[in-house]
């Protein structure tokens, strides 16, 4: 609880001693992370340099060292199974991540604004809106897999048989429609979280700002973009950050929707994670899978850094 500028003057050891209690507080977490995060990841990175398949798995880290061959297989080798589907997987992952992240925040924002009024039954409606969030991701995949069916799936029944919005029944789980078939359930599953966080953020914005804007004659649109959105920056910063990370690594919903965990999602539904999973655990190429994971990890670190930098600059400009 000391002022930071006083601390800067003191030596390192003195600052360590002064904050002893903080080290006690983080010690259990740091210890657990050393064993359960740092150590497996070091092994995982080392695995990406080994020729690790079903024959050599027994010797694990003593498997033959092959240098960068796994990376060659992922990026260049035109005959390796992971390289063949790589372009589609990357393209789909980029589209999927961007659309889902933006969609989740956008839907959450709209509903949070609608809920941030006084009306009868407010808490009941809010609770009901949280329902998708309690459906496990595996079940979400299964459920929507059934709902997207061409004949008798709920979506086609509603669109074609009941409301006649489309002249024919599209098949959602093959071809280009697959993209929508995986994006929509993911947004459906994840937007309640962003709604909840944005709603909490909305409630900390003081009313005086809106009153002042009213006096200046600002419309609702201006008020949103000049007051609400900037004031909520800490909330949507975290939401988009974790959204980008989690959606890139999205796996459960997609894998369960196609063949209940055993099928191939198709060229418009295959994501990086399903691709790596298929190569690691169905084709038994653990080394190649690890190499692809390491590459993905590097790309993610770069993206998150860019997002942090953008945020810092935006913070300085404001």
């Amino acid at each position: 609880l000391k002022r930071p500028n006083q601390q800067q003057k003191k030596g390192l050891w003195q600052r360590v001693k002064q904050n002893r209690i903080a080290y006690y507080f983080i010690a259990p977490t740091a210890l657990a992370m050393l064993f359960l995060h740092v150590s497996p990841i070091t092994q995982g990175i080392y695995m990406s340099f080994l020729n690790l398949n079903q024959y050599t798995l027994q010797s694990y880290l003593l498997a033959p060292f092959v240098g960068l061959e796994n990376y060659y297989k992922v990026l260049i080798d035109p005959t390796s199974p992971i390289r063949i589907g790589l372009f589609e997987a990357v393209r789909n992952t980029v589209i999927y991540t961007v659309v889902v992240t933006i969609g989740t925040v956008a839907v959450g924002m709209v509903v949070a604004l609608m809920l941030n009024r006084r009306f009868w039954g407010r808490s009941l409606v809010r609770t009901l809106f949280l329902f998708p969030w309690i459906v496990p991701t595996y079940v979400t995949g299964l459920l929507w897999g059934i709902m997207w069916l061409k004949e008798g799936g709920l979506v086609n029944v509603l669109l074609v048989d009941w409301f006649h919005l489309l002249p024919f029944k599209p098949s959602w789980l093959t071809g280009g429609n697959t993209m929508w078939a995986i994006i929509i359930p993911t947004i459906w599953r994840y937007w309640p979280l962003s709604m909840l966080m944005l709603l909490a953020g909305l409630q900390t914005i003081p009313d005086e700002l809106y009153e002042a804007a009213d006096i200046d004659g600002a419309g609702p649109w201006t008020k949103f973009w000049m007051i609400t959105w900037p004031m909520l920056r800490p909330v949507w910063f975290i939401l988009i950050l974790f959204g980008l990370i989690y959606n890139t690594y999205s796996f459960n919903i997609v894998i369960m929707m196609f063949g209940f965990g055993a099928g191939f999602p198709g060229e418009w539904g295959d994501l990086m994670m399903t691709n790596i999973f298929r190569n690691s655990f169905q084709l038994w190429n653990f080394g190649t899978g690890a190499a692809a994971s390491v590459l993905l990890l590097c790309v993610m670190i770069m993206i998150v850094n860019v997002w942090f930098r953008y945020f810092k600059r935006a913070e300085e400009l404001s």
Binding site: L1, V16, N19, H37, F119, V157, M197, V235, F251, F286
Partner: protein, 278 residues
């Protein structure tokens, strides 16, 4: 149209409510479909039959027996028990670890704090699939070496789930701690609480603050004395009171309220709020 202001407001309100209700129906539709499907036979679900199942004679039959099957044949009770044990223990363990760490990160600027929080964020960027084989082999070896069974046991799963749950919790909780005015804690320190005691009396109130979304929490930034974190009674002040004025017969809570109220409202709302207040 020269409608009066309140009529216009009323009309907008009703339109927004209708849109909201439509959206609510759309949101709940898949959940409702799931419940409806649970009353159909499994073959009808697989072929995507819209209505309820029918028997050979063409009569509608509701398959309540799915629910009987669940308990009798699928052994649902066992899985429920496993989930409860693992989920409950994970929750307790992860909450303890992440509350402690998040509190330390938000309140102390110590050498290595930036490194620690960046490491936490970095763990979130690692594809979970990379952990699978190393963790499995580590757990097998650990079981053989120490005799503590972590492979195929509750303990192992609890450890893994906690490890994956803690980093995200730390990031969320840090925002909450940042939203609690520091003045409260300074006042508590003056009254003689140790750092650990401060943590103990602030943290539970915080937990309450983040599950509740009532309008009464709206203004706690303006008035730290009304912050939900204070709903928990603080202990009697350790320091003997000097017999002067207000705090004679008051509990520590009142003293802190008094101290907190004399502080001016926070001006750096944007920085302070984090993602707190949920």
């Amino acid at each position: 149209m020269a409608l009066p202001y309140y009529v216009k407001k009323r009309i907008t309100d009703i339109i927004i409510s209708i849109i909201m209700l439509l959206f609510l129906v759309l949101t709940l539709l898949p959940v409702g479909w799931m419940v409806f499907s649970s009353l159909k036979s499994s073959s009808d679900i697989a072929i995507g039959r819209v209505g309820l199942s029918r028997n050979v004679a063409g009569q509608v039959e509701v398959h309540w027996d799915n629910y009987v099957d669940m308990w009798k044949n699928v052994n649902f009770g066992l899985y429920l028990k496993n989930s409860l044990i693992i989920c409950g223990s994970t929750m307790i363990l992860a909450m303890i670890l992440s509350t402690l760490a998040a509190y330390a990160l938000s309140r102390f600027k110590f050498p290595g704090s930036d490194f620690f929080s960046n490491t936490i964020l970095a763990t979130q960027m690692i594809p979970a699939i990379m952990y699978l084989i190393p963790l499995y082999i580590m757990f097998v070896k650990f079981t053989v070496m120490t005799g503590i069974p972590v492979k195929g046991t509750y303990l192992g799963l609890i450890l893994i789930y906690s490890a994956f749950f803690v980093p995200f919790s730390i990031w969320i909780l840090r925002g909450f701690f940042a939203s609690i005015p520091k003045e409260l804690e300074e006042a508590a320190r003056i009254d003689g609480c140790s750092a650990l005691q401060v943590f103990w009396y602030i943290a539970p109130g915080l937990g309450r603050a983040d599950v509740r979304l009532g309008p009464d929490q709206r203004r706690h930034h303006d008035d730290p004395g009304r912050h939900p974190a204070l709903r928990r009674q603080l202990p009697e002040p350790v320091r003997p009171d000097d017999g002067g004025g207000d705090c004679c017969h008051h509990s520590g809570r009142r003293v802190i309220l008094h101290a907190a109220k004399t502080h001016r409202p926070r001006f750096d709302r944007r920085r302070g709020q984090g993602i707190g207040g949920i």
